[in-house]
């Protein structure tokens, strides 16, 4: 495979991706959903991400793994510009979503965040009814009929595999649900606004094994429709659900590649140590 220097990078038929060590991924530029180039990010004076370059494929599950504090959440939050709120954060480098720079001044941040949905580590349903939680994003868009909102709420709850458990009590407070149900509610809420990308920051870390399995199943069923990015500390989970895995350490991208390859034949010693549990924290 050759690299044609005259074409813009993202239009290359096959791309050299990830780290400077030249990992080669088997997806075309047209299949690239998020394109991160030379991203450096610092909280005040403290650098959290160092010159990251990687591409995230469309309609696949990409997992970010790495020890605590390595910058996984920071990277995830950079993808929907949640850092904008923090005045201390400084950033260099670009992120393209479907070929468009997300930091372009013409980009409406709210619309970007709708397209790039995010589910946080701890379930954060709003203190409203289950129904209102799911309808929240829809109502922001305005102009939707009651009937249409009803439909979308039902569809979103079904997509998040929560419908059967809550259909009889949509008006009940969302805070009356269990932790696992709350997390699926938050996913349903995010799905309701039909995002193109779904960022999941350790979505199952606070859940029991059964709820975790439900979330993993959900991720698999969503894959044909969405680009998913998953942060996890659970190696088995990453291996089970992701197609690609990126290993971060100290704010740097150490290794990135297809999950099967990365877990069975890691190219680097550091990756192998982390995966096999020899390197902790």
């Amino acid at each position: 495979m050759s690299i044609d220097g005259e074409l813009p990078k993202r239009q290359l038929a096959q791309a050299r991706l990830g780290n400077r060590r030249g990992a080669v991924m088997e997806f075309s530029a047209a299949d690239t959903c998020l394109d991160i180039q030379g991203l450096t990010l610092a909280y005040g004076g403290k650098t959290a991400l160092k010159d990251l370059t990687l591409r995230i494929p469309r309609h696949r599950v990409t997992a970010f793994i790495g020890p605590s504090g390595c910058g996984k959440s920071t990277l995830l939050r950079a993808l929907n510009r949640l850092h904008d709120l923090n005045e201390d954060v400084s950033r260099h480098g670009q992120i393209h979503l479907d070929g468009h720079d997300i930091h372009d001044p013409r980009v409406a941040v709210a619309e970007l965040r709708r397209r790039v949905g995010m589910v946080f580590q701890a379930p954060n349903p709003f203190p409203m009814s289950i129904y209102d939680n799911v309808a929240f994003g829809l109502r922001l868009q305005g102009g939707l009929s009651k009937r249409r909102i009803d439909d979308v709420v039902e569809w979103a709850l079904k997509s998040a595999a929560l419908w059967d458990e809550v259909k009889g009590r949509l008006r009940a407070s969302a805070w009356s649900l269990s932790g696992g149900q709350q997390q699926r509610l938050v996913i349903a809420r995010t799905l309701a606004v039909e995002p193109e990308v779904l960022l999941l920051d350790e979505p199952a870390s606070a859940l029991d094994p059964i709820s975790t399995l439900k979330i993993e199943e959900l991720i698999r069923t969503l894959k044909p429709h969405l680009t998913l990015v998953l942060v996890t500390h659970n190696m088995q989970q990453a291996a089970r659900v992701s197609d690609y895995t990126a290993f971060l350490h100290n704010g740097e991208l150490v290794e990135y590649g297809p999950t099967d390859t990365l877990f069975t034949h890691p190219r680097l010693r550091r990756t192998e140590n982390y995966i096999t549990g020899r390197m902790v924290g």
């Binding site: 949640l82 709210a110 203190p127 805070w175």
Partner: protein, 521 residues
């Protein structure tokens, strides 16, 4: 596994004893506070509410042969320490001044409670204790039991006439006069006014004419116009349920009527109304300002040194003595803004001020200013307690910062705002000092809300329970006579504040439930 120092099952007894002294101390201070609070309420209730009970009236014969009619009150030791003496309420202020009398127990040779003793509540000169000798109605002169029966029915008639006359004056004559003044010179309504005034004097005529002949303890007779008498009862002839009915009626009159006799008698309705209206207006004014200021400080402003300085300033404003706010309100609102309003809009009535003098609006504004820091601080606390992940949850769904604020943050902070409002109401309802500068009146029988356009009269002076207490306790001719009223009014003020607070607390409870947050406290 066994951890040294801990028993495996149950709570180690050692720990509990170590917590002992502190827990006891805390419990003791709670108990003490509750006892003091309870004592306060009991004192106010007993002293305030017993005032309306128709107490038994005693007829005493003294050693010298003198007869005294009165209600026994407290007992104390004689100055000579040989025996006790007792204070009697003898009423009859027109009978030589005093309404109290101390009598030594051994002075009294006979103590009876005859059923024919009457108590009269009069428009002037306060209460009368004695006997009804005769009732003179036109040429008719009734004596004995008939006199009492007719007196009772005539009083009802007269009271109805008096109410009708008051209604006519307040609702028809006064508004008409005011509207005629406004259209100065225009006298087309003259006929209507004369007509109304004739009806009023007709009512007055029908009230008058009857006389009662009364006899006091010493047997001295006096005549009194029946129209002067508001109420008459014979406590010694009343069964307990009649007394209860009387008590309820008196209490109701206290709550529903205006004051009489230079605020030493009568009711406090204008003061209740004024207090509540003023507090409500204050709440309406302070809430939006306080919430907006808190939102600005917490959500909008750059969290730099200046913001921190402003925040410290706001917190310290809460500690400024209330009279200072009164001075500020007088200078800025009353003279400054009010004076300007008068010069621009009410030039025709100058030099008599409309807004350039204390009034409901200025009092509410001054108290709103006084309570603003409380609302700001409470709201800010509520805003800052809302977890970041709730805000981020909304943002991640495509909400703008403004939408996040209005749809997630503010609803979640409503209980905190109401907590601020509760504190503000509690402070404002009990505040008297600044009001004396910016609009409270000793007597303003017309409440600032009526059927006359624009219905809510923001420029009017108003009565206030707190000031009423102050006025009755310090400025009445006979402070002791006014004391029961002071207690009753104080009890009422506490009740009003309690009711206002409970309303806010229930609102907060309801909102917490609606927003799904766990209900605390």
């Amino acid at each position: 596994m066994k951890i040294p120092g801990h028993t495996a099952v149950g709570m180690p007894g050692k720990r509990r004893t170590r917590e002992g002294p502190l827990a006891w101390l805390a419990a003791a201070s709670v108990a003490l506070s509750l006892i003091m609070l309870g004592a306060l309420l009991v004192l106010l209730s007993v002293k305030g509410l017993s005032n309306f009970w128709p107490a038994t009236v005693h007829q005493l014969t003294l050693k010298g042969g003198e007869t005294v009619i009165g209600v026994p009150l407290e007992t104390r030791e004689l100055p000579s320490r040989q025996g006790l003496e007792r204070r009697y309420l003898t009423a009859n202020r027109d009978d030589g001044g005093g309404i109290w009398r101390w009598l030594a127990n051994d002075q009294i040779t006979e103590d009876t409670t005859p059923e024919d003793l009457v108590v009269l509540e009069r428009r002037h000169w306060g209460t009368f204790f004695g006997r009804l000798v005769a009732l003179q109605s036109g040429d008719q002169r009734l004596t004995g039991p008939d006199a009492w029966t007719v007196l009772e029915s005539r009083l009802k008639e007269i009271n109805a006439l008096r109410d009708e006359r008051r209604r006519l004056t307040h609702d028809e004559i006064l508004p008409l006069i005011r509207s005629m003044e406004d259209q100065d010179g225009h006298r087309s309504e003259d006929r209507r006014l004369a007509d109304l005034q004739r009806r009023a004097s007709e009512l007055q005529q029908r009230m008058q004419g009857d006389l009662v002949v009364l006899e006091n303890g010493q047997g001295r007779r006096q005549e009194q116009a029946l129209a002067e008498i508001l109420e008459a009862w014979r406590p010694n002839a009343m069964a307990w349920h009649e007394k209860l009915g009387h008590w309820v009626r008196e209490l109701w009159q206290f709550l529903s009527q205006g004051p009489r006799d230079a605020n030493t008698a009568g009711g406090v309705w204008p003061a209740i109304f004024g207090t509540i209206l003023m507090v409500l207006l204050m709440s309406i004014l302070v809430t939006p300002f306080g919430v907006l200021a808190a939102v600005y400080l917490n959500e909008v402003a750059h969290q730099g040194r200046l913001t921190r300085l402003v925040r410290i300033g706001v917190r310290n404003l809460a500690g400024v003595p209330s009279i200072v706010y009164g001075v500020f309100g007088l200078g800025v609102f009353v003279y400054g803004i009010g004076g300007s309003i008068d010069r621009w809009f009410f030039e025709s009535t100058l030099p008599s001020p409309t807004f350039g003098t204390g009034g409901l609006l200025w009092a509410s504004l001054t108290l709103a200013l006084l309570t603003l820091p409380v609302v700001i601080v409470a709201t800010e606390e509520g805003l800052s307690r809302i977890p970041l992940h709730q805000r981020e949850g909304a943002l991640a769904l495509g909400a703008t910062r403004f939408e996040t604020l209005t749809r997630v943050v503010l609803p979640m902070a409503t209980p905190a705002m109401l907590t601020g409002l509760i504190l503000a109401v509690a402070r404002a309802a009990g505040e008297v000092a600044p009001l004396m500068l910016v609009g409270v009146a000793k007597l303003a029988p017309q409440v600032p809300l009526d059927g006359e356009f624009p219905f809510l009269h923001l420029e009017r002076k108003f009565m206030h329970l707190g000031y009423h207490i102050y006025d009755a306790a310090f400025h009445s001719s006979d402070v002791q006579a006014a004391m029961p009223l002071v207690y009753a009014t104080a009890l009422l003020l506490v009740t009003v504040i309690l009711v206002l607070n409970l309303t806010a607390i229930f609102m907060r409870h309801y909102l917490r439930k609606r927003h799904g947050a766990p209900v605390r406290r």
